[in-house]
Structure formats: C-alpha cells, structure tokens
Symmetry: C2
Subunit: 665 residues, 2 copies
Amino acid sequence: MTDLDKHQRMANAIRFLAIDAVEKAKSGHPGLPMGAADIATVLFTQFLKFDPTAPDWADRDRFVLSAGHGSMLLYSLLYLLGYEDFSLDELKNFRQLGARTAGHPEFGHGAGIETTTGPLGQGLGTAVGMAIAEKLQESRFGKDLVDHFTYVLAGDGCLMEGISQEALSMAGHLKLNKLIVIWDDNGISIDGAVSLTDSTDQVARFAASGWNTLSVDGHDPAAIAAALRQAQASDRPTLIAAKTTIGFGAPKKAGTNGVHGSPLGADEIAGTRAALNWTYEPFEIPSDILDAWRIAGLRSAHAHKDWQKRFAAVDAETRAEFERRNRGDLPAGFEKAVLDYKKQLAEDQPKMATRKASEAVLTVLNEVVPETIGGSADLTGSNNTKTKQTAPVTPDDFSGRYIHYGIREHGMAAAMNGMALHGGVIPYAGGFLIFSDYCRPSLRLAALMGQRVIHVMTHDSIGLGEDGPTHQPVEHYAALRAIPNMNFFRPADITETLECWQLALETQDKPSILALTRQDLPSQRKSFEEDNLCARGAYVLVDSDDDAAVTIFASGSEVEIAVEAHGELKAAGIAARVISVPSFELFEAQSDDYKASILGKSPVKIAVEAGIRMGWDRFIGSDGIFIGMTGFGASAPAKVLYEHFGITPKAVVAAARAKLGADPK
Amino acid sequence: MTDLDKHQRMANAIRFLAIDAVEKAKSGHPGLPMGAADIATVLFTQFLKFDPTAPDWADRDRFVLSAGHGSMLLYSLLYLLGYEDFSLDELKNFRQLGARTAGHPEFGHGAGIETTTGPLGQGLGTAVGMAIAEKLQESRFGKDLVDHFTYVLAGDGCLMEGISQEALSMAGHLKLNKLIVIWDDNGISIDGAVSLTDSTDQVARFAASGWNTLSVDGHDPAAIAAALRQAQASDRPTLIAAKTTIGFGAPKKAGTNGVHGSPLGADEIAGTRAALNWTYEPFEIPSDILDAWRIAGLRSAHAHKDWQKRFAAVDAETRAEFERRNRGDLPAGFEKAVLDYKKQLAEDQPKMATRKASEAVLTVLNEVVPETIGGSADLTGSNNTKTKQTAPVTPDDFSGRYIHYGIREHGMAAAMNGMALHGGVIPYAGGFLIFSDYCRPSLRLAALMGQRVIHVMTHDSIGLGEDGPTHQPVEHYAALRAIPNMNFFRPADITETLECWQLALETQDKPSILALTRQDLPSQRKSFEEDNLCARGAYVLVDSDDDAAVTIFASGSEVEIAVEAHGELKAAGIAARVISVPSFELFEAQSDDYKASILGKSPVKIAVEAGIRMGWDRFIGSDGIFIGMTGFGASAPAKVLYEHFGITPKAVVAAARAKLGADPK
C-alpha cells in the first residue's frame, strides 16, 4: 500500500463513518465530511498536536470545526484517533437524545470538542479568541509552556456571514500567525452553487486584511501538507483555500447541494462504496486503517511528555499560577479585596455612574486578578473598562491586558468565548447595551457553553440621553434575561456594581452581562454587609414589613426612583418597602421561601424600570403596576426623558396612592 | 469669488451649522460634518437629484448617511437646500425633545431623512436594499420612470461592522451599479487612530467583491466630482475612498478623536472660525451662501418636471399601478383571494407544517400581489419562500421576484428595510428563527421606522429536532415579542398562517415575523370564519364558558397539544377552553373588555409553548402553570424532544388535575 493509498483509505474511513451515521440517524450532513476528509486526515495525522489520553493538555493545538453541520467529520476523527468519549456506539447514536454526538458539535458533550459550532461563522470568531489567548499566555509563561496552533475548518457559509469579516480583520491586524484557517472551498451552499449568491474573491479579501494566503487542491494530501507547513512558518495568520468536492465519492450527488444536508440514501451509498472501493459493512473500519488512525492518535505523546518535563522544570510558583489560571480559580486575595473595598464604599458613599463605579471596582480587582483581559469595542472612554493595570495589547506585544477590539461587537464577543474556552484568561470587555443585539449569537453560545465571559454594557437606558432611540435599550433587559444560563446584572449603585462584578468573576460556568448607566447614581447601600446581597438576585433594600401596603421593585438606575418614592409614601403615612432586583436569573435560583418573602403580600406592587414590562409580572403579578417604557425612546437630555416617559418618583407615588384609593380619582 | 472659494464657503456653512448646533445642544458629533462637508457639498450641489418641494418624488436619488452620528451634516444640508421640515429653529433645537433634529437621523422625523441610521453599518446595508429596489422597479416600469442613484456616506465604523461585508458582497454580486458609497476615510475612531484596531486595505476588500473602486482627496472638490462622474458611469457598484480630516478646520482637535463625539468648546470654535475665515455669528449663514445653497436645492426642479411629463405620458393603468405600489396599498383583489382560499381550507382541512402552509398561502397571494419580492438566506427549500410566481433575480436581470440573499441574515434584513423604504415593493424573506439573532439590529430598525418587511422564520422550536440546541429557538419568542412595534406571529395551522400573512401584508407601518414549524400540524380551524381571528392576537379556539375550570393558552405548534389536552380533560368531565395566541402584540391592542374575556376567570390557567415562560404571566398570572422550556434544547428527533421536555397533552392534563385537586398528590 502506497502512502497515497493509505491516506485515501484513512480518509475514506472518515467518509463512511459520516455516511453511515447520517444514514442511520436519517438526518445530518454527509457532504462536508466527505469533501473535507482529505484535509482532516493530513491535518490530524501530520500536524495537529494533541493527546487523546489527555484531551485537556493546556498546550494542545486547538481544532475548530467552524462549519459545525459537518459534525460527523469531528466525531469520526475523535473515534478513529482514540478519544475515549467517542466510541463507535456514540457514532451509531448520532443525533439521538443523550448522545455525545449531537447534530452539531456541543462543547462539554465529550473531550475533544473544543467549542460549540453550528451557527455559521461563530467557530471562526471563536478561534480568533483562542489564538489571542495563546499569544497572551505565551507572553506570560513563555514558549516552553505555551506554543500551539489554532486550526479552523471553515465553509463558504462561515465566510459569507458578517462576523467573518470582524474576525478576520481582527486576526490580520493582530498578526495572529498561529491561526490557520482552512477554507473548505466546495462552491456549494444549500440553495445551490455559491456563485448564485456571491462573487467574492475570498483569497483577495483575506489578503486585504494582511493574511498570508495559499490555495491548494483539497484532495491532494501532499499539497495540503505543504500548505500547512508554510502556514506554520508564517508571521501572519494564514488562509488555506482548499478546493474540494462536496460529497466526494458520491457518484451522482458529489459536487451538488443534494449531498449537503440529508442522508445519501441506500443507492447512492452503494455507489459511493463502489466508487471509493470501500467493501466494508456500515460502521466497519478495517483493522489496518483503525490501527493507522490510532497510531496517529499517539503521534504527539512524546511532545506531551516533553512538555510535561519542561513544565516540571519550571519553578513551583509559576507552575501553580499556570495551573490555577487554567483551572479558572480566582487568586487567594480576591475575596478580601472585595470586602475591603466594600467597607470603604460603605464609608465613602460615592455618587457616580455605574460605568464609572465599574471602572473603580475594576481598578481594585484587576490588581488582584492578573488573568483578566479587558477591552472594548471602540468605546474605551465610555465603557470605562480600562484601568491602570491594563496596558494595550498590540500586534507585536501581547504582554498587555487590554484589547482594542475595534467596532466589532460580534467579533469581540466570539473572540471572548474563544479566550475563555482556551483557558488561562478571563475576558471582559465593553460595548453599549444597545449593541448587545449585534453580538447576540455569540452571547447565546457563551451561555450554551457555560463560559465565563463578562460583558460590560454601558449606556443602559434612556438615561443616556441625546443619542436617541437608536442607542437607547428598551427591550434589551427582557431580551437578555430571556437567554438561559446567563447572568444579566443591572446594579443600582457602586456597591451593587462591586457585588455583581464579584459574582461575574466567581461564576465559572456562566457568562455575565453588567448593564451600567451613563448617568450618576447615589449610593444606596448605607451600611457594610459582608454578604453579597446581589447573589440573591433580589433583596430588601429599604425595609418594612413584607405586608407593607406597597412594595416597589426596581433595578439599576430606577432604584433611586423607587427609594425616593418610598420616602414620599412614608411621609404620607403609607408603609412601603423597596426591593432591589439586580438579577432575575439569580432570584429564580433562590428557595421558594426566600422568593415568597421577597414577593411579599403587599396589596400594591409596583415595578420601576426604564424598559418594557416583559418579565416583571413575575414580581408584581399581571395586575401589578409597571412604571417604565411601552415603546422606543427619544432624543433629549436624560432628565427630560425620564419626565417625558413618566418614570419618576412622583409617578410611582401617584400610582400607589390611586391603587390604594388614597386619592380621589 | 472663485468657484473654489464659493465651494469652500458653502462647505463651511455646513461645518458651522454643525459646530453651533452641537455646541448649543452641549452634545453631538461635530467631527464628521466638518470632515465630510466638502464631499457633501459636491454631491448635493452637482450630483444628487432631488426636489426639496417634493421630497417624496419616487425617482429621486437616495442619500443615506450611514455614519448617522454625523446627523448635523444631514440636517444642515436639508436646511440649506430648503427642505421645509428643517428650519433654522429645528437646527437650534438639535437633540431636544420633540425636535426633528434627533441625535441620529430618525426616519419619519422630517422629509429628507431617507432612513434611520446610527447603529453602524446599517445605513450601508439599507442602501443596498434601496439600490436593489431601484433595479427591480426600473425593470418593471422602465428607465423613464425609474432611474436614480443611491448614495451612501459611510465611516470607518460602518466598514468595520460585519454587516458591511454582507452588504458589500451582496451589492458586488448583484452588480448594483447605481449604488455609490463614499467612505469618509478619516482614519479616526473613538478609541483613537483606526490603525489601533484595523489594518484592512478597504479598497482591496471592496475590489475583492467586484466593486469599482476610486480613491480621492476628500477635500478636493474637483477630484470628488470627477470620482462621482466615474462612479455614475460604472457597470458595478462604486466605492469612493475619500481621505478626509475629521474636524477639518479645528486648529487643535482636527484629525484627532477629540473632535468625534463632543462639542468643540468656545476656544476651539473661535479658532475654527478664524482658521476658516468664518466671521458670522452662531447659526448665521450669509445671504450669498444661503442663496447659493437654495439655488442648488432647485437644481433638479426641471428634472422633476421632465419626469412628471414622462409619467403623464404613460398609460393610465401603468400610472395607477406605479402609484398604488408606491403608496403601499394592496391590489383590489387581495381580500377576495384571502377569503376564497380560507373557504377552501375550511373544506380541505389540510395537515401540514406551517412553513409549507406559508408556501401554499404565498402561492395564492403572490398571484394577486405582484409587488412582493421573496427571498431566503440560503434556505429556500427549508423556508418554503419561493413560489411558482417568483423567478430568481440575477445580476443581469431584475425582472424576477426572488432574491437568493446568501448566508447573510443581517445583510438581508437590512436590505429588506431599504427595499421597503424605497417603496414600490414588499419584501419578504426567509431564515431559521434561531438566526433572528443574527439580524436583530435590522429587525429593530424596521420596527423603529415602522416599515413593512416580512420575515418568514421557520424551524421555530425544538420541533426542528436533530439539529440541536444551536438551532432550536427557546428564548426567541420572548426576545422578539419584546421589540416594540413589531408583529411576531406564531400561527397554529394553515388557516392561521393565512390570516397572519394577511395581517403582515395589510400592516403598512410595522414589520412582521412569522414563526413557522418544520413539523406537520393538523388544521385547527374547523369552520370558515370571514373575520381574521388572528387580528385579535388571541381568541377562543375551543370554546367553553370563560369561567371553565381550566383555560389553556398556546401558540403555534403547541396549540395542537392544548387541543388534545382539552379533549382529555373533557373526557374526564373537566370543563376547559383553549385560547390560541398567535400574537401578543395584537392582543394588547384589543379593548379591555375583550382582553378580560380572553383571560377569563378559570381557576386554573395554563400556557403551553415550546419556549421560555417570559411573557406568559400576562395570560396565566404569576401563579399560573407554564408547560414549556426552562433552558436550551437538545439534539434528537422532534417527538422524542417533546416527550423529554414534558411538553405533551399528558403533562398539561396532569398539571391541570393536580392544581384542581382532581388527583391525589
């Protein structure tokens, strides 16, 4: 058997596992695994550095299947290479409930899946973050410990999505030379030929953003290997445009959209078996080929051992620090720093915008948590995400801790996911809350993957004023609270901002968003509390009996309004209490008793928030009073807008009195 | 005064109106108007075809200020050119409540604002749609009636946002030669120099997608004019890269980020006045310059008259049709077609997926509404948006009615906004509901602008099955219902699908989303009803008294579950009724009496929907029973998932019985 024969048989093993699994599941995407099997075989048997027996090895190369619909390519590889989580039974169980082999690769379903992909372009964006993290870690711990590549297999769809431009231009600018993107250039999308919808010269496009670009025949193993070698030596990120035939080997459907997203069917499978001279039963891999793959799986074992030796030779402190950061544990001094600062705040009672509060908090926390990596989507001065500890990262120097992400909210959020997945760093970055809409697909993936990324989203309401409705979030609180497994925080003052930051950093398995004001807010917390009150999601800020006549619920900047209304009601002899609600998500996680105590028994329940009502019925009931927005905002100074939209203490008091019958109608 | 002197004084008029308005408002963005004043002066005084006395002239050129923060550029132009809506008083009232001169240009605030911009990149995407609509209309009504350009002024931020890639690659592919984008290449963004975050050769990038590209000095009026002339003659869309100095004329701040987004301040203004030799008071425009601008405003008056003559010469039927389409009125036969089909459905009672129902409905409606333009983001066969009437649009032939938008949800949604704004066409197009996240910024703008765009979003729940959680909407119903002024429809069967389509088409001032299933659904509507029941938002589908023991609310595919549960409850002697809830938005618009009758007085209220609970408390109260999702979905066949997540008739019945105490606990 020649090397080429062997290569082809190894590649065919991928092809037929994919074909057979899709056929058995009666659903799935055989076209990509069949087309990209040659590329994957070369990459995984000659280049990728990994150890199936230690899939979490920090210095492994990362492989991202951005074209996630081709999941069977990845599952086949993981099985063939000997990853324990991906047995043949798992492959046979493709797309069934509880299987590790979900329709698209799901991070956490099994070791070897580096990230969740499927929504097109996300893998590319995530990989940029992995490559950034690699450079950050390399600059901190040296090449002896950190020296790996990030490989991406991307499809036409990935390159057509807008996020791809943000990702590639960021990677080109930052000269992420350890990032190697292989474009599976099969010229086919679901509707037909790509030429139906696009005429872009992708190679020229990547080159325009400073990439090293190469073009190869994606079915020629020698050419693929040569390109990968060149890519590894590049001082810039590399695009390898690999011309392939989708559904390679299928006699009738190859090269058409008919092979993209549905089973081949018995006849076409028989034809493919004949065409590729594959004489085995479904899911049968001949032992010589399985052996060849398993040997490929052991290929980097010595590299891993060498790395372990180098790691053992490092001083104990560095070793411990490297491991701590990779585990994601916070440093020992973290909690004390939080509490010390909280004590000081209880004394100082500073009045400031929560975006500035966040900067003050970060100035404390960045001092004790060296692995945070800040940034902003070109709103550094507005988001207040940069502190004295965070020098900018530049293309030639990754020792800094601050990334100017540019006007690329989507690319930024995806990159943050990749940084968190890579490990060793905790990414946080800023944008305007309104532009959460621009990066929502990546926010959702962070939640789905349970990644600790922290988004500082400022200018969080009509309180931003004159920029007007295009910039004023109204529906965004509801829309973000709706995403499962994500903390959406809206702190009311600097102490709550500190507590929310503490929670965001301590929560290893969820993303967090901090919605922060442009406008100043007074301190609400009047005394030092060791407990993190925001951890309850909602808590009694101004107390009275839980059967007070009126309970006012509020979040963020509207807590000030609630507290003022409370004062006026008290002066009128009406018992009221104020509940601050920094997080719906955390409130729901409390005990039933606690929740009942917070909801209370007041005959009048009022919620105040400068957004829409959706979600607040949970607190006030469908017959409760909501003081907030019913539509889009407007352009005017903030105070004028609050008056205009009737979000004022006066409105709260009037509504309470009317409901209580305290005023004649 | 030489021509150049005159040009410069005219441009300075823009500059100082912008400077003075921002200064007076104490907020705003002077940098762009100052930098782009020369470009705007050349464009508006020599090229743009418009008539301030008839701002809605169908064949006017469109101008889109994609860099919407530079709004004072546009307001200054509109005032100077004599647009009635933009008086000097309006300019003095910049960014104040109720002014036409909002912080960012808001469509509908005054004639002359072609679209709302501010969220970066949106203007570019919208302009692509305008240019598509121009070509569509030109192919239908001929060059005599339709022959205009779409001009865009875009900033660095617009080009950095991912949507720009979707927009430009679509425009390049479709050879939109009437689209001319002027890039205000000032090299500055908020965080500093663009070189801090990007190294892209934008000219090469546009060229890679087939654009004609030109580079000019953006302060040289002759060069700008020459470039615009070349652009007008191009057979491809044109990018004019115009190198400018942000804040041109400001002695200290020009060319820096200090001039981008805040008032210049008294000293710098004085310096700018001196530097540009502008000796007038704030808001004072010398009469010779105002005259020159007003004359420029009259420049296309004869072109408009000629057009009117040509229009008058067209046959009456074509004239009427042109006007009807531009008004946005539906053709006379529309309602009859709907009712005839509805009658047929009441007889046939077809069982089918609502995505297929939508195709069947469209096959009827596209026959009577010739101005609909269909499309899909590369999911034509899945979204079922293509009917026999809709031949594809190709780069060389716009007589078709179907656009293969490619894998560009964001670019598609923005383009649809532009098509609707242009007028004469009704854009509808398909995608997967999950990918509403990819185009949310454009959906929001459609709602904010009140544009009739119709999104067909299929695969609307875990019912899509094996593709798994990355493709299964869970939070999306809530997130989309949260957007003000938008119809989010989730029809339960083919008759509701027809009714929702009717509403979507008849609603001229709102976007609509139809969330449709992949899986089959039975007909629920058993008899013909002339009234559009979906227009009420929620209605009694299966009747009983409104104080029945149990009321079950459901939408879309879960109505089937509610109806089955109703049957089981009835068999057990428990009175129940079923409310179908196709639209929260329309329900809220009903009378209090109607809403009370729908909510009813049942002691047990249950909502069933394969999404999260958020929003349903409105119907069932915070103590109601919700049968739905609490987190992300999973990869498995649809029926398995419904069982797994407990969204079944059995679960509804069990919950109802438990609450009623009908079963021992």
